[in-house]
């Protein structure tokens, strides 16, 4: 089983300042993405606070492979493949719940919530070579977590989660999490589930696109202006102090900090997290001190992509689920801040609902853009998509990030540079090694 070099020349499809439309339309490329991006690499799976008690579980996917995220009786979070080791029946039928055991209804094989095979129906007809301990639910080969964010990799080998995230992503995750006066998120507020008929990468590119909001979300900003008198279009115009940043490894962000510093308080028109009141501010100062509190409050509103499938925007943890080359699902989990005043967390929910979800006043217009994109891609006289904004003005910051202005396409270029690198690798054949040798990685803050 030697390396099988890819037959697709990704260098010909992804240039420094443009990409070929085929990257969004070719089913063969999509299949390779499921292998190289979603099977070989680290993928966000869920948040540990979704399963607070022993036996709590949630079924989700890594790529398109069904996975159970479960807290076992010892309190450890495990990622188990949702497939009976006998003849592949899915052992878990509901999206979430609590279970001591997962029982396959087909022939009755029963597993403990740590994945061990507890009992086999009529085991006497298996021979002496049958060992029950070899037939537990298969584990996701590598699992890892950072402050409650649980990741999995279907490959037993590869870079560590710590290497994947890097210090820059951890710093941004900290800014999101530490808005909680207890330093912990509570991701138990349910989920918005929406879908669109277009490629999954449109969502990750658009979530980090500072050029579109004043156009696509004009109707939303107009309502904000009418209600509050604040015209927020200065956030996303070409004079905005907000920045696009490429954190490397495909992780990119819209950095609102320079804007929030220059125009303190303006974001409060839409960022309900700032309507916190003195009690919240005092709680933050008590835990983090004045300086850090100021830093945390200035960073609100940040848009972060953790390649390939996790986005943090505003109050939400957003998960991108590739279904087909032209079909995508997106799940949005609003996060509560533990220790914050109840009314603040309620306000976070209400603010989220106004823009997001399948009936919201903002994200629905983004989905429409993705579908129009997919239609436009059928016109191939000139098959290229231009991503050159700010190429000449961007700069390499002292911290190693590439920085551009809010409306520059630094973020898209950062995503594509990493995508090309990942997709140009040989087939992830190492993945086919033994299912044993699982590793668990806990990345320390």
């Amino acid at each position: 089983m030697g390396d099988t070099r890819t037959m697709i020349d990704y260098n010909a499809l992804v240039k420094d300042d443009r990409v070929h439309g085929r990257v969004y339309t070719d089913p063969a490329i999509f299949e390779e993405e499921l292998d190289k991006v979603f099977s070989h690499g680290w993928v966000y799976v869920g948040h540990a606070s979704e399963i607070p008690n022993p036996g709590d579980f949630r079924v989700t996917d890594i790529g398109r492979q069904s996975v159970i995220m479960v807290r076992d009786d010892q309190g450890q979070v495990r990622l188990l493949m949702n497939r009976c080791a006998h003849r592949a029946n899915a052992v878990c039928q509901v999206e979430r719940g609590n279970a001591k055991m997962f029982r396959c209804a087909y022939h009755g094989w029963t597993y403990r919530n740590n994945g061990e095979l507890a009992s086999v129906t009529y085991q006497d007809r298996y021979g002496a070579s049958f060992h029950k301990e070899e037939y537990g639910l298969r584990k996701v080969p590598r699992t890892g977590s950072y402050r409650g964010f649980v990741f999995g990799s279907l490959s037993p080998v590869g870079i560590t989660l710590e290497q994947h995230l890097g210090a820059r992503v951890r710093e941004q995750l900290d800014l999101f999490i530490d808005l909680s006066p207890e330093g912990e998120l509570d991701v138990t507020a349910g989920v918005h589930k929406y879908g669109y008929h277009a490629n999954w990468k449109f969502q990750i590119e658009n979530g980090m696109d500072g050029y579109h909001p004043n156009i696509v979300h004009q109707s939303f900003f107009e309502n904000v202006r009418r209600r509050t008198g604040v015209n927020l279009t200065d956030l996303g115009n070409s004079q905005s102090p907000a920045e696009t940043r490429d954190l490397s490894n495909g992780h990119v962000m819209l950095d609102f900090r320079p804007y929030n510093q220059a125009r303190a308080g303006r974001m409060s028109a839409i960022m309900v997290t700032s309507e916190s009141g003195q009690a919240y501010r005092d709680a933050l100062i008590a835990r983090y001190g004045e300086e850090r509190t100021k830093e945390l409050l200035t960073a609100r509103g940040t848009h972060l992509l953790v390649f390939p499938n996790l986005i943090l925007i505003g109050v939400q943890i957003r998960v991108i689920r590739p279904v087909q080359v032209d079909e995508t699902e997106v799940f949005l989990y609003p996060a509560f801040l533990k220790g914050a005043p109840h009314q603040l967390n309620v306000a976070r929910l209400r603010g989220h609902e106004a823009f997001y979800g399948p009936a919201g006043g903002g994200a629905t217009d983004d989905l429409e853009m993705f579908e129009r994109n997919q239609i436009g891609l059928s016109a191939r006289v000139d098959p290229w998509l231009l991503l050159s904004r700010g190429t000449e003005q961007q700069y390499l910051n002292t911290d190693g990030t590439i920085v551009g202005q809010m409306t520059d396409e630094v973020t898209q270029r950062g995503i594509w540079r990493h995508w090309k690198k990942v997709m140009s690798q040989a087939e992830a054949s190492a993945r086919r090694r033994s299912h044993r040798g699982n590793t668990v990685q806990h990345v320390r803050p």
Partner: protein
């Protein structure tokens, strides 16, 4: 009870009118059906959730409703450009007395939505609180229980 017969006819007329206005995207006429203290609620993931501890698909007071309508009328609500073509049936109407002279009305609906060559079906139950208003009613509360509120939804930017 003679009054209840009158109410049933009036309630059904009101619900059919609301359905027609929603199907026709008659935004201002629909907004005019609501009281100033109204609550419009479409739960997410389950029918019985605590809206202060669980996200909703829609949870709006009057101001939110006005924003929704203003956006839809703005010409820049791209998720409704082109508009969904809508046809819904409202049925199984049950009426009971509520507090302060309001009626509590349960009704089921079945809605077909056509947009960009795709047909979607939505179905569910709606719970209204209706307040008498001259010869008709106004909506002070509307909770829409979609049977697919825990499923992936592609576009729910029309009125339901």
């Amino acid at each position: 009870m003679a009054d209840m017969q009158v109410d049933r006819r009036k309630v059904e007329d009101f619900l059919y009118r609301e359905a027609r206005l929603m199907d026709a995207h008659a935004y201002d006429d629909w907004l005019a059906l609501w009281t100033d203290d109204a609550l419009y609620w479409v739960p997410s993931n389950d029918d019985d959730i605590d809206p202060e501890r669980h996200v909703s698909i829609v949870y709006e007071r009057r101001a939110g409703l006005e924003d929704r309508i203003a956006r839809l009328k703005s010409g820049a609500a791209y998720a409704q450009d082109p508009k969904s073509r809508l046809s819904r049936v409202v049925s199984n109407v049950e009426i009971e007395d509520g507090n302060d002279g309001e009626l509590i009305v349960n009704a089921t609906f079945n809605l077909t939505a056509l947009r960009r060559h795709r047909m979607d079906i939505f179905a569910g139950r709606t719970i209204y609180k209706l307040r008498s208003d001259s010869d008709s009613f106004k909506i002070s509360y509307k909770k829409v229980l979609l049977i697919n509120n825990d499923e992936v939804i592609h576009n729910l930017t029309f009125l339901i």
